[in-house]
C-alpha cells in the first residue's frame, strides 16, 4: 500500500464517517459540523486526484459559505434537538432509505457489469484525450484553472448558461415563496 492509498482510505473514512455522524446526531449544530468534516474529506479526495481547483472550490463554496449560512439559520431560529416529530416521519424515512439503498445497489451492479470493475482508469483517459474538449485548440486538458475556464466558456457555454438560469429561477422562487409567508404572518 503506497502513501496515496493510505491517505485515500483515511480521507474516504473521514468523508463517509462525517456523513454518517451527521445523519445520526440529534442536535442540528453538531450535524452541521459533521457535514463540514465530510465536505473537507471530499475536498481532500479531490486533492489526491490532483484536481486542486475543484478541491479549493469545494472548501470555498460548500464548507466556507453554504455551511456558514446553514449554521447562521440554525442558530438564528435556535433549533433544539429533534423531538417527537421524528417518530411520525419514521415510515416515510424508512421507505426513502430502502428505495435509495436499492438504487445504489443497482447502479453499483450495472457499473461492475458494464465496465468489469474500474478498468485502471482507461475510460477516463479516453475522455480527456479527445480534442473535442478543447474545441480544436492546442490547449491540453488538465486540472488547471485555465483549462476549466476555456472548456466552460467555449464548448460547455450553453450548459453553463442553463445551469445559471436554473439557479436564478430557484432563487426567485424562494424569494416569492418566503415573501408570501411573511406577509401572511404579519397580517
Amino acid at each position: 500500500m503506497s502513501t496515496v492509498d493510505i491517505l485515500f482510505y483515511f480521507f474516504a473514512l473521514l468523508a463517509l464517517g462525517g456523513g454518517m455522524l451527521m445523519i445520526c446526531s440529534k442536535h442540528p449544530v453538531p450535524a452541521a459540523m459533521f457535514m463540514i468534516v465530510s465536505l473537507v474529506g471530499v475536498a481532500a479526495l479531490f486533492v489526491l486526484l490532483e484536481a486542486f481547483f475543484l478541491a479549493v472550490l469545494q472548501i470555498l463554496v460548500y464548507a466556507g459559505a453554504v455551511m456558514v449560512l446553514f449554521l447562521f439559520i440554525i442558530m438564528l431560529l435556535d433549533v433544539g434537538p429533534e423531538g417527537g416529530k421524528a417518530s411520525r416521519m419514521k415510515l416515510i424515512s424508512g421507505f426513502a432509505g430502502a428505495f435509495f439503498t436499492a438504487l445504489l445497489v443497482v447502479v453499483f451492479l450495472i457499473m461492475v457489469q458494464s465496465s468489469g470493475w474500474i478498468n485502471n482508469g482507461e475510460g477516463w483517459s479516453e475522455i480527456s484525450d479527445t480534442n473535442e474538449f478543447t474545441n480544436g485548440s492546442n490547449l491540453i486538458f488538465s486540472a488547471s484553472v485555465k483549462s476549466f475556464g476555456y472548456g466552460l466558456l467555449t464548448k460547455y457555454m450553453l450548459p453553463l448558461q442553463i445551469s445559471g438560469f436554473l439557479l436564478l429561477a430557484a432563487m426567485v422562487g424562494v424569494i416569492v415563496l418566503s415573501k408570501k409567508a411573511s406577509e401572511e404572518g404579519s397580517n
Partner: protein, 375 residues
C-alpha cells in the same frame, strides 16, 4: 519506498515550515505589543514599559531602552495566559468549547503556506519564489481556508451556552457571509488585469501578481476601487474594530469569548493577530507590489542573495506599515452598529464591487481590441 533523498526533502520542508510559523507567531505577538504601544501613543499615555528580563535590565543604557520599548511584554503576557487558572464554566458544551480556539487558529496558520515573501535567482538564471508551496491557485486557497476561520467564533458562541457569546457567534457568521462576496469580487479585476490577453501570466498565483508589478506600477494605483473594497472586506473578515461585531465589548460583554479565560482566550487572541499579519501580507502582495521597490522604478538592489534579503525586508516593512494602519484605524473610528454593517456590505460594497468588475472587463476588452500597450 522511503529513501534518504525523500527524508532530506521532507526535513528541509519541515524546517522551513517551522521557521515560517515561528516568524508569523512572533509577528502576531509583537503586533499585540504594537497595538498597546500605538494606542498609548495616540491617547497620550506611556504604554507597557515595566517588564524586563532579570539580567538584561542591569545592562547600563540598552537595558533601560528595551524596557521602555516594552520588548519583553509579549513574553510576560504569554506566560500569564499559560499559568492562569483553567476555569471551565459548568454550563458549556465541553467538546466544542475546547475545539473552538483550535478551529480559530488553524486556518490562520494554514494560509501562510501559499504566502510568498521574496524571490531569488538560481544558478540557471530562473526566478525562484521564496514560498512553502507555490500553488497555481494561491489566492483561492487563501480565500477558502480563511473562510473556515469563522467556525471557531461560531462554535465558541454556540458552545458557551449563554446569551452574549451566542449573539456574537450569529453576528460573526452573518458578517462573514456578507463580506466574503465583496472580497472575492474585488479580486477578480486584479487577476483580469494581470492576465490580460497576450500576457504570459494566466494563473491565480500570488507570485505572478507580484511579478506583474515588477518595474511597472503598483496595482493600488491602477485599481484603487478594488483595493479599497478589498481593504474594507479585510477589516470585516479579520474582525477589526469598525467591524468587530462578534466581540463588541460595549454591548456584548466580550462577545464570543465571554466565557473563555486563560490559555484558550490567549489562542483566540493570537489567532486574531495572526489574521491581521497574514491579511496585511496579502494586501501588500496584491496591491503594494510585494517585494518590488517603488512604482515605475526598477529594484535598486543587486539580484544576488543580498538583493533577495533586501527585497524580503522591504516586503516586511510594507506589511508592518499596513499592520500599523490596522491599529491606527482601530483607535480612530468608532464601531458600526450591526444594521449599518449589513447595510454597508450588501447595499454599498457589493454593487460597487460588481460595477468595478464590469468597468474593468470593458476596459481590458477595449485595451485588447485597440492594441494599446498597458502601462
Amino acid at each position: 519506498m522511503i529513501d534518504f533523498e525523500t527524508i532530506q526533502v521532507v526535513a528541509i520542508k519541515l524546517t522551513f515550515a517551522f521557521l515560517m510559523v515561528g516568524a508569523v507567531m512572533t509577528m502576531a505577538g509583537y503586533s499585540v505589543l504594537a497595538e498597546r504601544k500605538v494606542s498609548a501613543w495616540m491617547q497620550g499615555r506611556v504604554g507597557p514599559n515595566r517588564t524586563v528580563l532579570p539580567l538584561v535590565g542591569s545592562v547600563p543604557v540598552i537595558g533601560r531602552f528595551l524596557q521602555g520599548l516594552g520588548i519583553f511584554q509579549p513574553l510576560a503576557d504569554g506566560l500569564k495566559f499559560l499559568f492562569k487558572e483553567e476555569i471551565v464554566p459548568g454550563h458549556v458544551n465541553k467538546l466544542y468549547y475546547y475545539l473552538a480556539p483550535i478551529v480559530a487558529l488553524v486556518p490562520a496558520l494554514t494560509t501562510m503556506t501559499v504566502l510568498p515573501f521574496g524571490e531569488f535567482t538560481n544558478a540557471d538564471g530562473n526566478f525562484v519564489p521564496l514560498i512553502l508551496a507555490d500553488l497555481d491557485i494561491g489566492i483561492l486557497f487563501i480565500l477558502a481556508v480563511s473562510s473556515l476561520g469563522v467556525y471557531g467564533i461560531v462554535l465558541a458562541g454556540w458552545s458557551s451556552n449563554s446569551k452574549y457569546p451566542f449573539l456574537g457567534g450569529i453576528r460573526s457568521s452573518a458578517q462573514m457571509i456578507s463580506y466574503e462576496l465583496a472580497m472575492g469580487l474585488s479580486l477578480l479585476p486584479v487577476f483580469l488585469w494581470v492576465s490580460e490577453p497576450g500576457s504570459s501570466v494566466s494563473s491565480l498565483s500570488l507570485v505572478e501578481i507580484v511579478r506583474a508589478q515588477n518595474s511597472s506600477t503598483w496595482l493600488l494605483l491602477i485599481q484603487p476601487v478594488s483595493a479599497l473594497i478589498f481593504l474594507i472586506a479585510l477589516f470585516a473578515e479579520t474582525n477589526r474594530l469598525p467591524f468587530d461585531m462578534p466581540e463588541s465589548e460595549t454591548d456584548l460583554v466580550g462577545g464570543f469569548h465571554t466565557e473563555y479565560g486563560s490559555f484558550k482566550f490567549g489562542i483566540f487572541f493570537v489567532a486574531e493577530y495572526a489574521h491581521i499579519v497574514i491579511g496585511s501580507a496579502i494586501f501588500t502582495l496584491l496591491f503594494l507590489g510585494g517585494w518590488n521597490f517603488l512604482p515605475w522604478l526598477d529594484n535598486p538592489w543587486p539580484s544576488s542573495w543580498i538583493g533577495t534579503l533586501i527585497g524580503t525586508v522591504w516586503f516586511l516593512t510594507k506589511t508592518i506599515g499596513l499592520i500599523f494602519f490596522f491599529i491606527w484605524i482601530r483607535w480612530t473610528l468608532p464601531r458600526f452598529r450591526y444594521d449599518q454593517v449589513m447595510n454597508l456590505g450588501w447595499t454599498k460594497l457589493l454593487p460597487l464591487a460588481l460595477a468595478n468588475l464590469v468597468f474593468y472587463i470593458l476596459l481590458v476588452t477595449w485595451l485588447d481590441q485597440s492594441n494599446f500597450n498597458l502601462p
